[in-house]
C-alpha cells in the first residue's frame, strides 16, 4: 500500500511585476511512491526543492500541476485537509517555533485538543506518545528547560499523538548538536521499527540518509537517484558534483579505486569498511 504518491508533480511560483514576470520552477515532474512502513530519506542541498516537496505531503503547498495523494486522498481536496494532516504529520526544523504550549504534555495534546478528542482518550494518547519518544518523565517541564534534541522529540510526540500513518520531518536535526541529532535519529528509527510508522526524512546530512531504507536524491527540482543507500553513496562522483557529501568510508573506497585498488564500492558502513581494509592489508 502506498501512503504517499505523486503524479507528475510540478510546482512553480511567479515573482516580479506584471511586465517582467519571472516564473521559478521549483519542482519538475516528480513521480514518487512511498509505501507504508518505509523509512525514506530525501537528500538534497539547500534550494534543491526538497523542502518544497515535503510541504506538498502535508497540503501546506498544492501542486501547480499534477497530483499528490496521501493514503489515497487527493491533497487538493480542501474538505479533507484535516484527514490528510492527521495521516501525515509534519515536524519542522526549528524546535522552538513549533511548540505551542508552555508545558510539555499540553503541547503534545495540542493537536488532539484541536481535533476534539475526549479527555480519557486524549490522556492515554498523550502518555503513549510521550513514552514512545522517551520524554514521559519530562511531561510537566517547560519547553524552555529542554535541550534542542528533547524539544524536537516533544514535537515528534505531538505528531505521534495524532496516530498518523506517516511522519514527514523537514530537516529536524539541522539546528541540533551531534548529541541532539543522535537522539532524534534514534527516536525516528525506533518509531519506524517498533510502531511501523512511515518516515520521510528531509535532510542534507548524508550520515542520516545512510540509516534509512531508501534514499531519494533531489537536485534542481528533479529526482536524480532513488535507491537503497549502498547504491546511492557508491556513486561518489555524481554525489560530489551536486554538492552532497558521502560517508568517509565510501570516499576512501572511491579514492582507492582511482588508484587502481578495487574494493566493493557498495561499502558504506564502518564495519564493512574495516573488514574490506583488513582483508586488503593483513598480508
Amino acid at each position: 500500500m502506498s501512503i504517499i504518491r505523486t503524479e507528475n508533480l510540478c510546482f512553480s511560483y511567479k515573482s516580479g511585476d506584471d511586465e517582467n514576470q519571472i516564473i521559478t520552477e521549483v519542482l519538475k515532474n516528480i513521480n514518487l511512491d512511498i509505501k507504508k512502513g518505509e523509512f525514506v530519506s530525501i537528500l538534497g542541498h539547500n534550494g534543491s526543492g526538497k523542502s518544497t516537496l515535503a510541504k506538498h505531503f502535508n497540503a501546506i503547498l498544492l501542486p501547480s500541476s499534477g497530483k499528490v495523494y496521501i493514503d489515497g486522498i487527493d491533497t487538493s481536496d480542501e474538505s479533507r485537509l484535516f484527514d490528510i494532516r492527521k495521516r501525515a504529520g509534519m515536524v519542522f526544523q526549528n524546535p522552538d517555533n513549533q511548540i505551542v504550549a508552555s508545558i510539555v504534555e499540553e503541547d503534545v495534546a495540542f493537536a488532539l485538543e484541536n481535533m476534539g478528542v475526549p479527555y480519557e482518550e486524549m490522556r492515554k494518547r498523550v502518555d503513549d506518545a510521550l513514552k514512545s519518544v522517551g520524554m514521559y518523565e519530562y511531561r510537566f517541564h517547560s519547553p524552555n528547560q529542554l535541550s534542542g534534541g528533547q524539544k524536537q522529540r516533544v514535537a515528534i510526540a505531538g505528531i505521534i499523538a495524532m496516530r498518523p500513518e506517516c511522519i514527514i520531518l523537514d530537516e529536524p536535526t539541522a539546528m541540533l548538536d551531534p548529541h541532539g541529532r543522535r537522539e532524534v535519529m534514534k527516536t525516528i528509527k525506533n518509531l519506524n521499527k517498533e510502531y511501523g510508522i512511515t518516515i520521510v526524512l528531509i535532510t542534507h546530512y548524508m550520515n542520516e540518509a545512510v540509516e534509512s531504507d531508501r534514499v531519494i536524491v533531489i537536485d534542481r527540482g528533479e529526482i536524480i537517484l532513488d535507491d537503497i543507500p549502498e547504491n546511492v553513496f557508491s556513486q561518489a562522483e555524481k554525489m560530489k558534483n551536486i554538492g552532497l557529501d558521502i560517508p568517509q568510508t565510501s570516499e576512501l573506497i572511491y579514492l582507492l579505486g582511482k588508484e587502481g585498488i578495487k574494493l566493493d564500492s557498495h561499502i558504506i558502513t564502518e564495519e564493512k569498511c574495516v573488514e574490506a581494509l583488513y582483508e586488503l592489508l593483513k598480508g
Binding site: 502535508n58 501546506i60 484535516f82 494532516r85 492527521k86 504529520g89 509534519m90 519542522f92 526549528n94 522552538d96 517555533n97 513549533q98 511548540i99 505551542v100 504550549a101 508552555s102 508545558i103 504534555e105 499540553e106 495534546a109 495540542f110 493537536a111 488532539l112 485538543e113 484541536n114 481535533m115 476534539g116 478528542v117 475526549p118 479527555y119 486524549m122 490522556r123 498523550v126 517547560s142 519547553p143 524552555n144 505531538g158 505528531i159 495524532m162
Partner: protein, 268 residues
C-alpha cells in the same frame, strides 16, 4: 535575571491554596476586593486582615516573599499617605503650623488607604504565587466563555496570551544574544543623549522584530499542521475540577464578606 519573568511570580509548592480550582480562586479574589474596599471601620479591616493572614499562611510560602512584593510599592504608599494627611482637612485638628494642618480625618484616611493597598497586594500575591500564569490564563478563558455567545473573542485572546507566555523567555534569550553580537561589533548601547540611545537600539530591535515575524509565521504553519482551527469544538487536556475544598474556600470567603458587610451596616 530577566528569565524569571516566565514563571511570573509563581512559587511551585504543594499547598491547599495551590490545589484549589483556579476559577474559584479568581472569583474569590473578586469577592476579596469588594470586602477590602467596602469596609470602612477598623473592625472591618481587622476582619480583612484575618482573612488575608489565613490565606497567606495556607500557601506555605515564606512571609519574606510577600514582603518582597510589597517593598517596591512602599515609597509610593508613603507618598500617597502623606498627600492624604496634608490635603484632607476635615475632622479634629491635631496639629497646625502655617499652611500645614493635620486632622483626624486625614490620618484615618491615609492609614485606611495604606492598610487596604497592602492587603490587596498580599491577596493578589496569594493568587499569583499559587497559580502559574498559564493556568490563570486558562481559568480566565473558561470563566469568560459565556461571552463567546456575544462574539467576544475569548479563546483567541487566551491563545494569544498563552503563546506570549510561551515565547517571552525565548525572545529574552534571543535579545541577549543579539545584544552580545552587536556589542561584539562595537555597538555602544548605553551612552550619549536620549536620541543617541534610541538610535543605538535599532541594531537590536530590527533583528528582533524580523525574527519574531519569522517565528510567528513558522508557528502558524506548525499549528495549522496540527489541525488548529480556532476554539470551535476544542477539548482540553487540562481538566479543571472543583471539589469540596473549593466549596469550603468559597463559603469561607463569602462568610467573611457577609461579616464585613454586617459590621459595616451595624456601625453606621
Amino acid at each position: 535575571m530577566l528569565k524569571d519573568i516566565t514563571l511570573g511570580q509563581y512559587f511551585p509548592v504543594d499547598s491547599i491554596i495551590h490545589r484549589l480550582d483556579p476559577r474559584y480562586k479568581i472569583v474569590m479574589i473578586m469577592i476579596y476586593m469588594i470586602m477590602i474596599f467596602s469596609g470602612d471601620s477598623v473592625i472591618c479591616l481587622a476582619i480583612g486582615f484575618v482573612y488575608t493572614a489565613l490565606a497567606v499562611a495556607l500557601t506555605k510560602i515564606s512571609l519574606k516573599v510577600y514582603f518582597k512584593s510589597i517593598k517596591p510599592v512602599f515609597p509610593f504608599l508613603l507618598f500617597t499617605a502623606l498627600l492624604n494627611i496634608l490635603f484632607i482637612r476635615d475632622g479634629d485638628i491635631y496639629f497646625h503650623w502655617k499652611f500645614i494642618k493635620i486632622t483626624s480625618e486625614g490620618v484615618n484616611t491615609s492609614i485606611f488607604m495604606m492598610v487596604r493597598i497592602i492587603l490587596l497586594l498580599a491577596g493578589t500575591s496569594v493568587l499569583t504565587y499559587s497559580t502559574s500564569p498559564i493556568v490563570l490564563t486558562d481559568a480566565v478563558e473558561r470563566l469568560l466563555s459565556p461571552l463567546k455567545k456575544i462574539k467576544f473573542p475569548v479563546h483567541e485572546l487566551a491563545m494569544m496570551m498563552s503563546i506570549a507566555l510561551r515565547f517571552i523567555p525565548v525572545l529574552i534569550e534571543e535579545t541577549n544574544k543579539i545584544i552580545s553580537a552587536q556589542k561584539a561589533r562595537g555597538a555602544e548601547l548605553d551612552s550619549g543623549n536620549i536620541i543617541a540611545k534610541a538610535k543605538s537600539l535599532i541594531p537590536i530591535l530590527v533583528p528582533l522584530l524580523i525574527s519574531s515575524f519569522r517565528r510567528a509565521e513558522e508557528l502558524a504553519t506548525a499549528m495549522e499542521c496540527r489541525c488548529y482551527n480556532g476554539g470551535e469544538g476544542r477539548t482540553r487536556l487540562r481538566q479543571m475540577k472543583s471539589g469540596k475544598a473549593d466549596y469550603i474556600a468559597l463559603s469561607v470567603t463569602v462568610f467573611f464578606l457577609i461579616l464585613t458587610m454586617t459590621v459595616n451596616i451595624k456601625l453606621k
